[in-house]
């Protein structure tokens, strides 16, 4: 044996977006998510991807209607890392390479961020 121990506690690094309460989500982003016609297809697709990442525990409808933080909605760290991979695969957009990703704080913000980076 020539290996030093690895150890207790490691886990899925990458945390659910840390708490942002409902009232701090900019209204403009909510507006974009709900109303912008060109965005609605993207929003629906992203909501479906989040629902899949959550193993279906959250429905697309619940996600589309949500303005609260994703972690308050019940999107776990595990679901978030699945979502990041799914978005990179489908849209070739990198989410959260580390160092803060405020657009992961809520669904409307995420849709706004993705809308600005996809054709």
């Amino acid at each position: 044996m020539t290996t030093r121990q690895a150890a207790d506690a490691g886990a899925i690094p990458g945390t659910a977006a840390q708490g942002v309460a409902d009232d701090v989500i900019p209204g403009v982003a909510v507006q974009r998510a709900e109303d912008a016609g060109a965005t609605s297809g993207l929003a629906a697709r992203l909501a479906g991807m989040i629902s899949t990442a959550c193993d279906g525990r959250l429905t697309s409808e619940e996600i589309l209607a949500s303005g609260a933080s994703l972690s308050a909605l019940g999107v776990t760290s595990l679901a978030l890392l699945r979502l990041i991979d799914a978005v990179e695969d489908e849209f070739d957009v990198a989410l959260d390479l580390g160092g803060g990703a405020p657009y992961l704080d809520s669904f409307p913000l995420l849709v706004g961020y993705m809308d600005a980076r996809t054709p």
Binding site: A6, A7, G10, A11, G14, A72, S77, D85, D89, G100
Partner: protein
């Protein structure tokens, strides 16, 4: 043939000094997308930062909090060694922690200063704080502070059985135990890169930092783990050694990434933090065709005591035997060793100076017994001395390999003004092993699971947030008033109806 004599470092800063003298231009740490650092740079920057800390009044024995995210492993590594060069105790803190948790930890150890990484700000308190770059501009060269093997080097906070995190203190002698400095004997000698994704502030993460100091391969990590990114890193760097936790491994396998990327470089695939389920070990062995799949069993309290198991289909559930001169015991109620086959408490004894709880004698007396550490697990030894664990229900559960105290989550729920009663249990989860579920009796109608989770994000780390929150009229209790967790768990059964699950 004997190797030329190489001094044996007695402290972590001595490990760095020696390596920087041996291989100043060699890459020590790489954070994908965030740069790299050589041993020479590590030494120079940590000297400069140590001067900066001393100039700001840090004195030997002071506790210095280090709040960094995984994208900042390079600055964290500099800050860790700088604090110790100044004679201070490094207190690594993960960016995953909620503000209230960081405040508690800094207050508990009376930190005099906090160094913090990019995009993070420490909470206010009795300490001053600075980014490393703010303090590195002054004097250069080694500082004149004597640091010895018996001096305290590090405090790591981990979930305990009483609901509040425990500070686990380690001396330099404990951390440098087993350090190998002879160039031809370095650990993981088959590798140019060692890839891991353990967070800062965990024992596994700190172990990787020690590996970065004395092992042959450069430590390679990434700002945020996802299975896809991990797979691409393996393909592009071809690391010979990769460390994971079971939850990462399961996600990786389920996503089928080994079918799309070349995994042939990996010769050692180590798993830590919780036991690999045998079926996962077998799948990993197939997915990493050239790798020896190895499981490590230890704890923040017990390190460097550990058991190591190379996956053996003939003993699929075994966790191995003690390594590196440590000892293993399955103890009966009085602490005496039990014969093979009998289930009892798992105890490990460190081959190095043991660790201890910082400022918590009562919990320390419970966990540390005459050089032995009670692991908090139940298990038995087979006839050949291999350890096997037995499941049990407790107040501390492992979720994705983090220890989480259900009592701590309950305590955080009780801080909400509208919560009359709260109880938290672990539910089985196919990837994480256990996921958290909370049942809450409200004081008034209208409270939702989403409200409660939003409230908890200020108080708990992401991995401590209950995935499921149920608002109920009453908690199931026995005649003496104790919550019956077995019945509580049933409430979360899909067949159970009549409750509101908050989202």
């Amino acid at each position: 043939m004997t190797s030329p004599a190489v001094p044996v470092p007695g402290t972590v800063p001595e490990m760095l000094r020696l390596r920087a003298a041996q291989e100043p231009e060699r890459t020590a740490v790489i954070v994908e997308g965030n740069g790299a650092m050589t041993f020479g740079e590590w030494e120079r920057r940590s000297d400069a930062l140590a001067h900066g800390l001393l100039d700001r009044g840090v004195r030997p024995g002071d506790r210095v909090g280090l709040l960094f995210g995984s994208w900042d492993w390079i600055d964290f590594s500099v800050a860790y060694c700088a604090a110790q060069k100044a004679g201070a105790v490094a207190v690594p803190l993960s960016d995953r922690l909620a503000p209230a948790e960081v405040r508690h930890m800094l207050a508990h150890c009376s930190a005099s200063a906090v160094l913090y990484g990019r995009d993070l700000r420490p909470p206010a308190g009795e300490h001053w704080s600075a980014a490393p770059a703010d303090l590195e501009g002054g004097a250069a060269g080694a500082v004149e502070v004597r640091v010895g093997p018996g001096d305290l080097a590090q405090i790591l906070y981990t979930s305990g059985t009483t609901g509040l995190p425990k500070g686990v203190a380690a001396s330099h002698a404990n951390l440098v135990f087993g350090c190998e400095t002879r160039p031809n004997r370095r650990r993981f000698g088959h590798s140019r890169h060692l890839l891991h994704a353990f967070p800062i502030g965990t024992n596994a993460g700190q172990t990787m930092l020690m590996n970065a100091l004395d092992a042959r391969p450069a430590m390679l990590t990434l700002g945020r783990f996802t299975p896809g990114r991990f797979a691409r890193l393996i393909e592009s760097y071809g690391p010979g050694t990769v460390f994971v936790v079971p939850a990462m491994a399961i996600e990786f396998l389920n996503a089928g990434l080994h079918e799309r990327h070349d995994m042939s470089s990996v010769l050692l695939l180590g798993s830590a933090a919780s036991a690999l389920p045998p079926s996962v070990s077998a799948r990993l062995a197939a997915a990493f065709p050239n790798a020896t799949v190895t499981n490590y069993y230890t704890s923040t309290e017990a390190a460097p005591a550990q058991t190591i198991m190379i996956f053996d289909p003939a003993r699929p559930g075994a966790l191995g035997r003690p390594a590196f001169g440590g000892s293993l015991r399955v103890a009966g109620p009085g602490g005496d060793p039990l014969p093979a086959g009998e289930t009892g408490e798992v105890w490990l004894r460190s081959p190095a100076v043991p660790r201890s709880y910082y400022r918590d004698e009562r919990a320390g007396a419970e966990a540390f017994r005459g050089g032995w550490v009670r692991m908090g697990d139940l298990g038995y030894l087979d006839a050949d001395g291999y350890l096997h664990l037995v499941d049990r229900e407790g107040d501390v559960v492992k979720s994705g390999a983090f220890k989480v105290s259900t009592l701590q989550v309950e305590a955080a729920l009780y801080e909400h003004a509208d919560v009359a009663e709260a109880a938290v249990v672990g539910l089985p989860h196919p990837v994480l092993g256990t996921t958290l579920a909370a049942a809450v009796v409200p004081r008034s109608a209208g409270i939702s699971g989403g409200d409660l989770r939003a409230f908890l994000t200020e108080r708990l780390a992401g991995h401590e947030l209950p995935e499921r929150v149920l608002v109920v009229d009453a908690l199931p209790r026995n005649q003496s008033g104790k919550v019956i967790k077995r019945e509580l768990r049933r409430l979360f059964d899909p067949a159970a109806t009549g409750q509101t699950e908050g989202t």
